[in-house]
Symmetry: C2
Subunit: 432 residues, 2 copies
């Protein structure tokens, strides 16, 4: 249960320690959007600082109406009464798993918290790999058999959770796959939970985005928030769009919400209501963010490709999920965790091993988050946002050079000295 | 699970409907502190509006240190590393029940969310009445037998949860009772969760306050927040002080927190850090609030006494828990819910029936919250806060008159007309 926390905290603490000790570190381990609050949102939060009543558990009406408008502009007719707000979409996902009940089908790998939440709720995650070359959704061909097997064992399976676009892989499931998943969910009577928190950060061809709610509004819950598109992670605000006519699910979710978190902070709700109306100043900010995330993710992708990694091109958000299995024997490593330890110890590069996301520990895969490269200060981050060529800014170029050196050295033939240094990181199978 | 939400929402919606229809309603059904945000806190929230990073799951260090100082000033040595913040103490209570595990001993009646949270977590609440004349803690004489019986049935019992001072009764458990509860908890190896969110609102003799943490720091968790003393309910901020050396419980609680809510809104954490340092301007506000709550609660208490109710004098917070059992046969009512319905329907007075708090449905007891009588506007509320004699303010005097009339009429001999009107509210046992 506490593995994900430990893994991320341990990486972060080690990176902080090295930074304080004057070492050059490259923080690629955290999924924070890494950009400043837009001043219009700060102003709205300040203006709402007198709001101290509890308000409605589902969220203040102005926020639910704004969120409904957000989805209407994306082609989804939305009843504000079927919008439920929470202190982050994470809370809503937890509440949904509890409310829907039964085991949940997840992609493997997938965001650390899905499986951990399932464990807390007391249900079993059924983790299935994505179709080849895709990420964020289980292969539809595998779902039916897995669900029917679980049901034959007397288990209940209630939902399937997908991420469009995906964390950790940074890819977006193809429309044809979404169609097949929807058909599978209908055949098996599963609720589809579609985590679309990175939707506005699809780098290109946003118009081609297909949500399962477009095809199966009767069984799809969409969750999103402002943590990624507007970088408001620490403000804790998320929204869920429930299936058409899902009044029973709504009542259950609200009962759960009322007993665990009551409502998101009301001043934050007021500012979020403004954000979900998508005024021009915030649309511009999201467009600039999307461009920056895409440019840096593609630059990092190119460096992993040059090092011989197998890695899908990034399509959304700020993640990559390279497979460096070709270096397994050359580096003498046996797991993704050993690769992450090696990158941190020898090169000061912090990433997370794939096993944290439910992947096979023996796979030499790591998740690379590229959003903390934009600078250490608000000034640098705003400069990066505004830059025509952010890759040429010295702090971003320097970070990319750091990564290039690390990956070149990693892929280069190993000297005896290097081998000896490296070996000390790998526990001996005999002595433990 | 959704009963508490339904009960409070139904009461609120009915009151809103009647208010909009031009009826005179008296809202005694909600536990909101009913006072404005102190401007110093609004300013701190505004100043922190640029904070958008996730921060630490346990809360930002400045908040944890300030909360430790808050407890130090109350005679409790506190390690900031054993302080955990959450989006409301409600969230922390949920996380604690999940982390500690096992059934939980609760007072009967007690705050609606304790038993509901236990149900969500999948453990059983063991509800035991308070010692005669007290509220907020189970009678220590009953705890050992109940816990040993549950254990003999193969169940695990992990904790005892008490409320000092209490919601719904508005009373404070005697120090002697706290001592016996602590001894019982030691004998049975139970964690004591002490919900002290109303501590700063004890009306008199604050110096005589005894927390179980004073006696058993090795097994007591204290939870509190700023919803009551500083009326910041809608800001969602709570803090827990874990037992000495409880590093394992801390790790578990943080793992749970990291998977459900991540952290409280960071701008709110920054403002809360200021609040917990207790600067003079905020101490003055809490003192004024305490006086106002006490004065109005005592005035409402006097009116229930005059109507012949059995009701303990209020000692803290803004609640009363009158027993109008003497009117049972005269009014032809059989439950506290029927009394609440009668008060709402005939007199526009909204209260909550005792059964919502786990009390015997057949008891003619209701919870009366007195904090929404201070006025409908910030101006009136500030006037009430500053008034030497708030009871003489026309809007408060008017509300008290409304209550006096309702209670007088209730206690008066019933006319046939009254009886006929009233009867329509009570479902006929034959026709349903």
């Amino acid at each position: 249960m506490n593995v994900p926390l430990s893994a991320t905290l341990a990486a972060n603490e080690e990176l902080q320690r090295r930074r304080h000790a004057g070492e050059r570190v490259l923080h690629l381990a955290f999924g924070e959007a890494g950009l400043p609050v837009h001043p219009a949102l700060s102003e709205r939060l300040s203006a709402a600082s007198g709001h101290n009543g509890y308000g409605q558990v589902a969220g203040v009406p102005v926020l639910r109406e704004a969120a409904a408008g957000y989805w209407e502009r994306r082609g989804l007719r939305t009843d504000p009464d079927l919008v439920v707000c929470g202190p982050g979409s994470k809370s809503l996902l937890y509440g949904l798993l509890l409310a829907i009940g039964g085991d949940v089908v997840l992609p493997k790998p997938s965001w650390v918290s899905y499986a951990a939440q399932a464990e807390l709720v007391g249900v079993r995650p059924i983790m299935l790999p994505a179709p080849p070359g895709e990420g964020g959704a289980p292969d539809p061909d595998l779902v039916a058999e897995a669900v029917l097997t679980a049901r034959a064992e007397g288990r209940t399976v209630g939902s399937m959770l997908i991420t469009l676009p995906d964390n950790p892989s940074g890819t977006l499931v193809r429309p044809g796959t979404v169609k097949r998943l929807v058909q599978t969910a209908r055949d098996l009577d599963l609720v589809i939970i579609s985590d679309e928190i990175y939707r506005d950060l699809v780098h290109d061809n946003l118009a081609g985005y297909l949500s399962p709610a477009d095809l199966a509004p009767e069984r799809t819950v969409i969750t999103t928030g402002l943590s990624k598109n507007l970088a408001l992670g620490g403000w804790r605000i998320g929204v869920a769009r429930l299936p058409d006519e899902a009044h029973e699910l709504r009542a259950l979710l609200l009962a759960i919400a009322s007993e665990i978190w009551s409502c998101p902070a009301v001043p934050v709700q007021q500012a979020a209501a403004y954000a979900f109306t998508e005024p021009e100043e915030l649309r511009d900010r999201v467009v600039a963010s999307r461009k920056l995330h895409g440019a840096v993710a593609r630059a990092v992708h190119a460096r992993f490709i040059r090092a011989g990694a197998a890695v899908s091109p990034p399509q959304g958000g700020f993640y990559l999920y390279p497979d460096l299995g070709h270096l397994r024997s050359r580096l003498g490593i046996r797991t993704g965790a050993e690769l992450a330890a090696l990158l941190l110890d020898q090169y000061g590069v912090g990433v997370l091993p794939g096993e944290v996301f439910g992947d096979d520990p023996a796979a030499i895969r790591v998740r690379v988050a590229t959003s903390l490269l934009y600078g250490d200060t608000s000034e640098r981050r705003l400069t990066a946002l505004a830059a025509a060529d952010p890759l040429s800014l010295p702090w971003i170029a320097g970070a990319l050079d750091h990564l290039t050196e690390a990956l070149s050295d990693l892929a280069a033939p190993r000297s005896v000295t290097n081998l000896r240094r490296r070996r000390s990181l790998v526990p001996d199978p005999v002595t433990g």
